[in-house]
């Protein structure tokens, strides 16, 4: 069996799993197209994230443990771009906040300027200290009242600046840009360090990003969440009242509720597939060209690549920014799919480590592997719980229904998920260390 056939079969297998979930309710399958498409949609988003991480890890050996932060920034972009502006927020303090941020940025720029242009010594230290302290207080003096102004606007419902009210699809590239900006900052610092400390730097910055999103209410309502974000298509309940739609549904012999929910999910699936294919195409094209050759050269031997005129640091920065931007796009897509931004929900286990599992299991260094891993692992993430329950029932078949052990185990089925994910990862690392679809 040729490699290509084998790999196509693997994709087919995942496809069959999804189809089974839509058609049969045997065993772990739900027997509902809503469920199947729901899994597929998040699977597609996961695949995009995995693609981003694979770009960084598989092709440049950059270990990014801050995926969570970039995903969250993508989500933030959705709020900033597409939610409607809070009435009065800009006059109440929005302007002030912007001014304060500009002030802060100016302080930093001035500090950098001083560092660059004054000679080393006491005067420079003094000037810097004075500037930073003055800058900090000036910033707080403008910032704090402006923030309380904004946050005072009906905190239960608003209390934030809101967004620009633009179409939500625009938020996806915006999410990419936001993540790219953050990645650029991290990369500039971490990739410039003498020893490479990217992993811990990304981990730290991701935590900082989440802390900001959780606590700066004016920006994203913090832990109070932003719900009801706009969607790129009509809502189900609107469809259910649209006579035109109802007619079409009836002509297809579909129940209006089913028709509307499927309509929404399929639209998402199509949109996500388009984005995924576009990114996949771009990644593949890049990698098959001199650019990819250069990246592989850098990965093989940084010193020699540097001696052959390749700017290794800049290339690392480039690929780090690109990969993070892709995670940002995926984050924005996920927030759109959820219809809400919930900063409290970004957690490293789910948004960083799970993505790593997807990449490693799928096959680092192979874009198709990453995509397969994304969808496959997501499917398992959902289905391991019923599988675990089934397994425990099977194992404890002989035990009485009310035996303490059986009850204890059944209570723990939810924890099968983590356990099984670990097991899958270990098995793959052991028996197929290059992943399901290895790098050619």
């Amino acid at each position: 069996m040729s490699e290509t056939v084998k790999h196509s079969l693997m994709f087919a297998f995942v496809g069959v799993l999804i189809i089974l979930d839509g058609t049969t309710s045997f065993g772990i399958f739900a027997g509902s197209w809503n469920s199947a498409l729901g899994i597929l949609n998040m699977g597609l988003v996961s695949a995009i994230m995995a693609l981003g991480v694979n770009l960084q890890w598989g092709f440049a050996g950059l270990f990014n443990v801050g995926i969570m932060g970039f995903t969250a920034l993508g989500g933030l972009a959705v709020v900033l771009v597409s939610s409607s502006p809070t009435p009065g927020a800009w006059s109440q303090g929005g302007i002030g906040i912007i001014m304060a941020l500009i002030l802060g940025a100016l302080t930093v720029v001035a500090a950098v300027f001083i560092t660059k242009n004054m000679t080393k010594g006491k005067p420079r230290v003094l000037a810097l200290t004075a500037l930073l302290i003055a800058g900090f207080f000036a910033y707080r003096a403008v910032f704090d009242p402006a923030v309380s102004g904004v946050e005072a606007i009906n905190p239960a419902l608003y209390g934030s600046l809101g967004g620009l009210g633009l179409p939500v699809l625009l938020a996806w590239p915006a999410g990419g840009l936001l993540a790219a900006g953050a990645a650029w900052l991290i990369g500039k610092t971490a990739l410039g360090l003498r020893s490479d400390y990217l992993a811990i730097a990304t981990l730290g910055i991701a935590e900082i990003i989440i802390a900001i999103m959780k606590n700066e209410d004016w920006l994203s309502r913090g832990v109070k969440n932003v719900v009801g974000l706009p969607r790129p298509m009509r809502k189900e309940i609107v469809l259910q009242e649209d006579p035109g739609f109802l007619d079409t549904a009836a002509s297809l012999g579909l129940d209006p509720v089913v028709a509307s929910t499927l309509y929404v999910k399929i639209t998402y699936s199509l949109l996500f597939t388009v984005v995924l294919l576009a990114l996949l195409w771009m990644a593949q094209m890049g990698l098959k060209s001199p650019w990819g050759r250069m990246m592989r050269a850098i990965r093989d031997n940084e010193v020699a690549a540097e001696a052959m005129g390749k700017n290794v640091t800049r290339r690392h920065l480039q690929i780090f920014v690109l990969g993070s931007a892709i995670c940002g796009v995926a984050g924005a897509m996920m927030t759109t799919l959820d219809g809400q931004l919930t900063p409290g929900t970004y957690n490293p286990l789910r948004f960083t480590f799970l993505i790593w599992v997807m990449v490693v299991v799928g096959g680092s260094g192979n874009n198709f592997g990453a995509v397969l891993g994304g969808i496959f692992i997501w499917f398992f993430w959902i289905k391991v719980e019923p599988m675990g329950a089934g397994l425990i029932n099977f194992v404890t078949y002989g035990l009485a229904d009310d035996s303490a052990l059986k009850l204890h185990l059944l209570d723990s089925t939810a924890h099968m998920r983590l356990f099984t994910m670990g097991l899958i990862l270990l098995l793959v690392l052991r028996f197929s260390p290059r992943g399901l679809i290895p790098e050619k």
Partner: protein, 377 residues
């Protein structure tokens, strides 16, 4: 034989993730109500109620919507859940509303959810922040407290409640010296307690959870002598708190939704018998949520969400005969006979407005290592 009909109800809580320690008691609470109803054999002509558990991960929107879809596919007639506001919003927007499924959350309090066009499908048994803020302010002023330090668990419940307490208390002339968040799931609270102590105040109000960060903060404050009296909103009221903290908690006070000791105490006893901790946060609310769904079904004589959804308000609110935990069988019988009921339950449910809970509060003071009800408000 007798199981002519089966009613499936979904229980969708975060059995893994940040509140994995609360979820088991919540699930057990909901299942307790279902078992009670099944045993009574009074629902819709001796229907059995089968619970179906699934996980939300508390923070995993994708997982929870997928699990909700699976529940629908498996034919549930109602969903008890979710728990954390994030996933609750996601399930509501993406699954419950589009499919016309009734959903009752025992814990999500985010005001944002109230404004969603929920088609009358979303309810919650958790008390509203705004109301509790007012009650807390009353309790504080009545006890002559002039200034408080305030700390809240950093989620929408904590934040919302803290905002409400602050607004209400300042409106009656009190001073809030500091309002600082604490994160659940992290063990060390020295920094928070240091800042709170420095800000000072007559007492420390802890808008958190009694077996999460809230407990840590209280313990740490007592240990370092930062505060010796605490204001305890609903999330902090439960037997495990005085049990864990010990005598030092004596004199602290607070309030929890609930009319009369009857409901809550009865529930705690039932829970103890069933082998779980009924005083764990949101466990009573979970019991009530499940009970309300089943009672509404009986009132509508249908398990179709479209039919019984409108009945939930009716069974939850006056007029009618008051129903307490353990009396579900009686309530079903009454409903069958066409008598109105007013479900009080374990957490004194009173639904106002678009599916929110309000109602009377029980003022609690910790004396001799136990929560004692002082009066009702």
């Amino acid at each position: 034989g007798g199981h002519a009909k089966e009613v499936k109800l979904g229980i969708l809580f975060g059995f893994t993730g940040p509140i994995e320690s609360l979820a088991p008691s919540m699930g057990a609470g909901a299942e307790l109500a279902m078992a009670e109803v099944t045993k009574s054999g009074m629902l819709l002509d001796t229907a059995t109620v089968t619970p179906m558990r699934a996980d939300t991960g508390c923070i995993d929107n994708g997982l929870s919507t997928a699990n909700a879809e699976k529940m629908l596919a498996d034919g549930v007639s109602g969903i008890i859940g979710g728990d954390c506001s994030g996933v609750t919003g996601a399930i509501l927007q993406n699954v419950a509303i589009p499919n016309g499924m009734v959903m009752i959350s025992p814990s999500a309090t985010s005001p944002g959810l109230s404004t969603m066009e929920d088609n009358g499908l979303f309810f919650r048994t958790a008390p509203s922040d705004a109301r509790e803020g007012q009650v807390m302010a009353e309790v504080l002023t009545d006890r002559g407290v002039k200034s408080i330090a305030l700390t809240y668990t950093n989620n929408d419940y904590g934040k919302g409640l803290a905002d409400a307490i602050k607004t209400s208390f300042e409106a009656v002339g009190g001073e809030v010296t500091i309002s600082a968040a604490h994160e659940d799931g992290k063990g060390d609270y020295s920094a928070e307690v240091g800042a709170l102590a420095s800000a000072g105040g007559d007492i420390l109000v802890v808008a958190g959870y009694l077996d999460q960060g809230g407990l840590g903060i209280i313990q740490s404050s007592l240990d370092s002598g930062a505060f010796d009296k605490f204001g305890l909103p609903g999330g902090m009221i439960g037997d495990s708190l005085p049990a864990n903290v010990g005598a030092d908690l004596n004199g602290s006070f607070g309030q929890i939704a609930g009319s009369g000791g009857q409901g809550a105490e009865a529930y705690f006893a039932m829970a103890e018998e069933a082998g779980f901790d009924g005083s764990s946060p949101y466990s009573p609310e979970s019991y009530d949520a499940a009970a309300l769904v089943m009672l509404a079904m009986q009132a509508a004589n249908s398990k179709d969400p479209a039919d019984y959804g409108t009945k939930i308000m009716d069974v939850a609110n006056a007029p009618g005969e008051k129903i307490y935990p353990g009396e579900l069988g009686k309530a079903l019988e009454l409903l069958k006979a066409g008598t109105d009921i007013d479900y009080v339950g374990a957490s004194a449910v009173e639904l106002i407005g678009p599916g929110e809970s309000a109602g009377s509060y029980r003022e609690i003071e910790v004396t001799d290592g136990a929560n004692k009800t002082v009066q009702f408000r």
